[in-house]
Amino acid sequence: MMKSDIPKEKFEIIGADESQQELIGRARVSYMKDAWRRLKENKTAMAALVVLCFLILMCIIGPMISGHSFEEINPAHRNQPPSSEHWFGTDRLGRDLFTRVWTGGRVSIIIGVSAALIAAVVGILYGGICAYFGGMVDVIMMRILEIFASVPSLIYVVIFSIVLGNANLTTILVALCVAAWVGPARLVRGQMLQIRNQEFVLAAQALGVSSFKIILKHMVPNTLSVVIVAITFAVPGFIFTEAFLSFIGLGVQPPNTSWGALVAMAQSEFMFFPYQMFFPAIMIALTMLSFTLFGDGLRDALDPRLRK
């Protein structure tokens, strides 16, 4: 007897249980709503989000509520410890550190977020073009990318900072982004190529769905979630690089400041006035940690395979 000789009746579909059909299923939710719901359930990610919001809020209003200007030099109040007058103390020129920490935070966070966004946009375009056109275009563009990727990014940053001279927000951003798009570009290209060969894209083509809609409904959502997570993870890296640049004197120039510049300034006084370093350092650490934890939660939330 062959497999095909098994009586057919044995395999009839018994159909769905009628009584269960009225059962009200889970409420209808779109993909993004479902992701948001999962994110809200993640306590760590939400705590990180709250911390981030607080830090950003303080960067906006902090310099206004202290009653001091970040450039205001007061020789009478040099190197003061935290007090009711100066909440985070003062530096060696007598400037109010509370104001300076939040003013510096503006620079650090703006640089971190914009650099990550710029790198992601350039990366999406570059990687998307590679994946879309394929063939020679892809080969040539990937070779160019590899040339960029073969030099450690810190070297670009340092060289560009020196070449562009008097550092301000724009020059630092340019320096940071010269090589930073390489990672997102590779990521997007890989993801696009992988999705393009998946059978659900073929199924959509067989159904007559237009190319535009296939890109919009299948390619973009499946790529975007990966990119969003990558952006979140990239921000702390840029904040740290900016801090490093400022620390070695290639970042923002006085009287403007950033967290990195504040740490650099505090370094010489560290033996006697450690609180000067404590506040900017803890802000860098908190921001980086929060972005990383939030990115973690975001990645889990955007992956429906983890849906419970």
Binding site: K10, Q21, R26, F200, A203, L207, V209, P221, P304, R307
Partner: protein, 317 residues
């Protein structure tokens, strides 16, 4: 019977590397009649998937014609004709995991084609999806789930529902059961058979499982390296295979009859399937054929009718 799909001299070559072409499907011709199931068997890599996808124009054919309902789809057709073809000819995939977009709900997946071909309101669409889900043996409850919450068999059913949603006449079933547990396979096959009866569907059923193909198909074509080597109705092909390759495939089937197993002559396939990049001259099967001689390297055997409805491509026959 009326022909629904006539494939004539179909070719699909892939460019692999500099100046190398891989002839996945080479000069393939056959006809699928309305309401029948044509089985397509052959070893993995012989071009079955490529054949199925090229017929649906998911791959641009390198040459030949695909006459669907009397119209050659491999020539320039007006948009309305192309959309009709897309509505009428559907596909079910082998891998139920990559066949469904992980970021869409089952309802979004099934209704994807409805929105292309029909004007329906949201609630009408939801109603159709609900009906389809019940039809294929799931419940309306599944509409809001995501693919990863479903088992392989359930996903395959969703893939079937997606194809059915546009009311097709012709479905290419590309190994729809080979990725499933044996216990699920028969369920899916029986679902396909009952849907065919109910909706008068025409199937191109691709598989490497001969016994399953015999079970479901009216006629069976045997493929080797991008060509058909034999085509006959299912009974005839299994009772009296003509081509040495078909015979070898048959003898690889295990039967549940120990007495028969003892006496029957086994014909093992020697060696590996040659690369389609550099296939043997003449008859492509000659390198593994026990009956091959010098003449086989000279001429490419044509598919000839050896008895009514029974075609084979072997010069020895």
């Amino acid at each position: 019977m009326k022909p629904l799909v006539e494939v004539k001299g179909l070719k699909k070559y892939f460019n692999v590397g500099r100046n190398t072409v891989l002839k996945a499907v080479d000069d393939l011709s056959f006809t699928i009649y309305q309401g029948e199931t044509l089985g397509l068997v052959g070893e993995s890599g012989c071009g079955k998937t490529t054949c199925g996808r090229t017929i649906l124009k998911l791959y641009e054919p390198t040459g030949g014609s695909i006459i669907y309902n009397g119209k050659d789809m491999n020539t320039k057709q007006p948009r309305s004709e192309i959309m009709n073809f897309k509505k009428s000819a559907q596909i079910i995939f082998q891998d139920p995991y990559s066949a469904l977009d992980p970021r869409m709900t089952i309802e979004e997946i099934i209704s994807e084609g409805i929105s292309v071909h029909y004007r329906k309101t949201r609630s009408e669409t939801a109603e159709i999806v609900n009906e389809l889900l019940t039809k294929i043996g799931l419940t309306g409850d599944f509409a809001n789930r995501f693919p990863h919450e479903l088992s392989g068999g359930q996903r395959q059913r969703v893939g079937i529902a997606r194809a059915l949603a546009v009311n097709p006449d012709f479905i290419v079933c590309d190994e729809p059961i080979s990725a499933l547990d044996v216990s699920i396979q028969a369920q899916i096959v029986n679902l396909l058979i009952s849907l065919q009866k109910e909706r008068n569907l025409t199937y191109l059923f691709i598989s490497h499982d001969l016994s399953m193909v015999k079970h479901i198909s009216d006629r069976v074509g045997v493929m080797y390296l991008g060509n058909l080597v034999e085509l006959a109705d299912s009974e005839t092909l299994f009772a009296e295979p003509k081509h040495p390759y078909t015979k070898a495939l048959m003898s690889a089937i295990l039967t549940a009859d120990p007495d028969f197993e003892k006496v029957r002559e086994r014909q093992k396939l020697q060696g590996e399937i040659p690369s389609p990049i550099n296939p043997p001259s003449g008859c492509k099967f000659r390198t593994r054929c026990p009956y091959a001689d010098g003449s086989c390297a000279q001429t490419v055997p044509e598919l000839r009718e050896v008895s009514p409805g029974h075609f084979t491509a072997c010069v020895k026959e």
